[in-house]
């Protein structure tokens, strides 16, 4: 395919997808989040760890005691809540991107192999996947971090170790469906190698379902990062995270509610947007839903 046709195809499918309001909205928020995480040093008015012992617990600017200097107030150490919110997106985006990419790669590889070759490969794989999924995800990630130690890389690793199995299961059952299609039989009778069939016929047809589960995985990865940071098993000290902000703010939420509440609102907005994106993607890409 020439690059020109490819780019035409791309712009056409982009147009098709963005005709869904849900996808448009979700894409804007997700792109915004990624931009904010990259541009954090430029956008944030303060260093996220800069303490100001003279101004702890400053309320947001719309309160009479608040100031426009710290628009969302300060925490117990006088750190700027707004700047910390912005910098925290880096941890979330890192885990979402790294965690999701590797989860998708490993899970899809296992799923495609199991679904395509069936037989013993499938049996063994699915036994492992089933057993793996018997381990409660939250507990397993906590256990892993307790062994590996805290830090963003280990959080991403925990996401991958826990979630590859769900990917494998979904991709495997989709591959099982696809391999029964006539065009696969045709490709086989033309003498295509297994590798070529998987690359040329199976993988492209997995794209719709992959898009949907990748989106969901991103929101799960972000949740895991926040959750682990909340219990002190996520980011290292001095790396701002919505989770550690919530944990700190919950300690004095009765008197200074804003420190815990703003990161919670941010997290809810991000997760909801990604879920709306996922729902939009499912509506547009899943033929089973379209026909209904």
């Amino acid at each position: 395919m020439t690059p020109k046709i490819l780019s035409m195809q791309f712009s056409r499918s982009a147009k098709y997808l963005l005709s869904s309001k849900k996808i448009l909205f979700g894409t804007i928020i997700v792109t915004g989040l990624i931009l904010i995480s990259i541009l954090a040093p430029i956008i944030a008015p303060f260093d996220p760890n800069q303490q100001n012992r003279k101004a702890p617990y400053d309320p947001p600017f719309w309160f009479s005691e608040g100031s426009t200097e710290h628009i969302l107030g300060t925490d117990s150490l006088g750190r700027d809540v707004f700047s910390r919110l912005i910098y925290s997106s880096q941890a979330a985006v890192y885990v979402a991107v790294v965690g999701t990419i590797f989860t998708a790669l490993i899970g899809s590889a296992v799923g495609v192999l199991a679904g395509y070759y069936r037989g013993r490969v499938d049996e063994v794989n699915m036994r492992i996947v089933d057993a793996w999924m018997s381990f409660p995800a939250v507990l397993l990630s906590i256990a892993l971090i307790s062994i590996l130690g805290v830090g963003l890389q280990n959080v991403a690793l925990a996401v991958i170790v826990v979630d590859w199995s769900r990917f494998a299961r979904v991709i495997r059952s989709e591959t099982l469906n696809i391999r029964e299609e006539d065009y696969i039989q045709a490709a086989r009778s033309l003498g295509f190698s297994d590798f070529k069939i998987i690359r040329k016929e199976i993988l492209p047809n997995l794209v719709p379902i992959l898009t949907v589960i990748v989106t969901i995985e991103m929101s799960i990865a972000i949740t895991v990062e926040v959750l682990l940071s909340y219990v002190g098993l996520g980011v290292k000290a001095f790396t701002p995270s919505w989770g550690s902000m919530i944990a700190e703010g919950m300690g004095y939420v009765q008197t200074n509610w804003w420190v815990a509440t703003f990161p919670m609102i941010t997290l809810i907005l991000v997760i909801l947007s990604i879920n709306i994106l996922g729902e939009g993607a499912r509506e547009k890409l899943d033929p089973k839903i379209q026909t209904n």
């Binding site: 036994r127 492992i128 089933d130 057993a131 793996w132 999924m133 018997s134 381990f135 409660p136 995800a137 939250v138 507990l139 397993l140 906590i142 256990a143 892993l144 971090i145 307790s146 062994i147 590996l148 929101s219 949740t223 959750l227 909340y230 219990v231 098993l233 919530i246 919950m250 939420v253 009765q254 509610w257 815990a260 509440t261 919670m264 997290l267 809810i268 997760i271 909801l272 879920n275 729902e279």
Partner: protein, 323 residues
């Protein structure tokens, strides 16, 4: 079943093989003497190849020995079983709440697909599903504990209220000892954590039930019922719901791992003295035997629950019998 258990035990064993450094030192804790570490190495065969270690671990397991806690100096299993009733009580109450509310919402949505109620409930379930349960827990703590101050947000009982321990299930024990005050206090403490835990499940039940109700409502036997002149209420509640129930049961079973995992954080947030809180204490103390024990026992529970669900499922639906 046997193979699932075997694979689960291998995974639970294997995960803890990645402990960096000397596992004997790690498992003996920070305050261990060289003699302690040597003992640990001997008992668990930590200087032998991995497969031998696994067999040693397995043979201990069959004797009900999952090792000793570093922090509490007692057998891991004793520690877990002492706290398991609190966790199970929380989970069982959540499942009951989720089933009741989920079924009501699902039936109301499914009966009038696209109607006003359906749209409201679908939005609610979207929120219930998208927002993780630990966040719901925190939101509840802020709203009901900090602002409204109408419900307790910590522990199972209050100071001054005592329930004699028989089964470890606070609600059951207070009924058995005819302790009405204790029963009410126990229920009040259960409300917020169990609802926070139930929300995701409510959403899933609502969705599945609503869509399977839509399916069932177009079936011929429902049409026959209509022609026979059965009231709409009776058709929905008796005839349709019965058949829409099976997918719901499967969902509850499939979500059990999610539920028991989610309870870990809910326990931490609400100061619930169950196995989840124990897991966090163990993590803080690097109490590897306890963490490993909890991971293994939880996976075991999930495997057993899914077996039970399969059995109930085949009982309810004779078409699916195991060959």
């Amino acid at each position: 079943m046997f193979i699932s258990l075997l694979v689960v035990s291998i995974i639970a064993f294997a995960i803890f093989q990645i402990v960096p450094g000397d596992p004997a030192r790690m498992m003996s804790g920070a305050a261990a003497t060289p003699q302690d570490i040597e003992n640990m190495r001997q008992i668990w065969g930590l200087d032998r190849p991995a497969y031998e270690q696994y067999l040693i671990w397995l043979s201990h397991l069959f004797q009900g020995d999952l090792g000793k806690s570093i922090r509490f100096k007692v057998p891991v299993l004793d520690l877990i079983f002492e706290r398991l009733p609190a966790t199970l009580e929380l989970i069982i109450v959540s499942v009951i709440i989720a089933s009741i509310i989920g079924v009501v919402l699902g039936v109301l949505s499914g009966a009038r697909k696209g109607g006003f109620l359906d749209r409201i409930f679908t939005t609610i379930s979207f929120l219930g599903l998208a927002i993780p349960n630990f966040l719901w827990g925190l939101i509840f703590v802020i709203i009901f504990g900090a602002i409204l101050k109408i419900l307790p947000v910590s522990g199972r009982l209050e100071i001054g209220v005592d329930v004699a321990g028989i089964t470890g299930f606070m609600m059951l024990d207070s009924i058995l000892t005819l302790n009405i005050g204790g029963f009410l206090v126990a229920i009040r403490h259960l409300i917020l954590p169990s609802v926070a835990l139930a929300l995701g499940l409510i959403a899933i039940i609502q969705r599945t039930l609503a869509s399977s109700m839509v399916d069932v409502m177009t079936k011929d036997y429902i049409l026959t019922d209509r022609i026979k002149g059965l009231s709409e209420k009776k058709i929905i509640l008796v005839r349709a719901l019965k058949n829409a129930f099976i997918p719901t049961l499967t969902i509850v079973g499939a979500q059990f791992a999610f539920l028991i995992g989610g309870s870990t954080l809910i326990e931490l947030i609400f100061g619930w003295p169950g196995v989840g809180t124990l897991a966090f204490i163990a993590v803080q103390w690097k109490d590897i035997p306890v963490i490993q024990g909890i991971v293994f026992i939880y996976a075991l529970i999930v495997v057993f629950v899914s077996l039970i669900i399969d059995l109930v499922y085949s009982f309810l639906n004779p078409k699916i019998r195991f060959g």
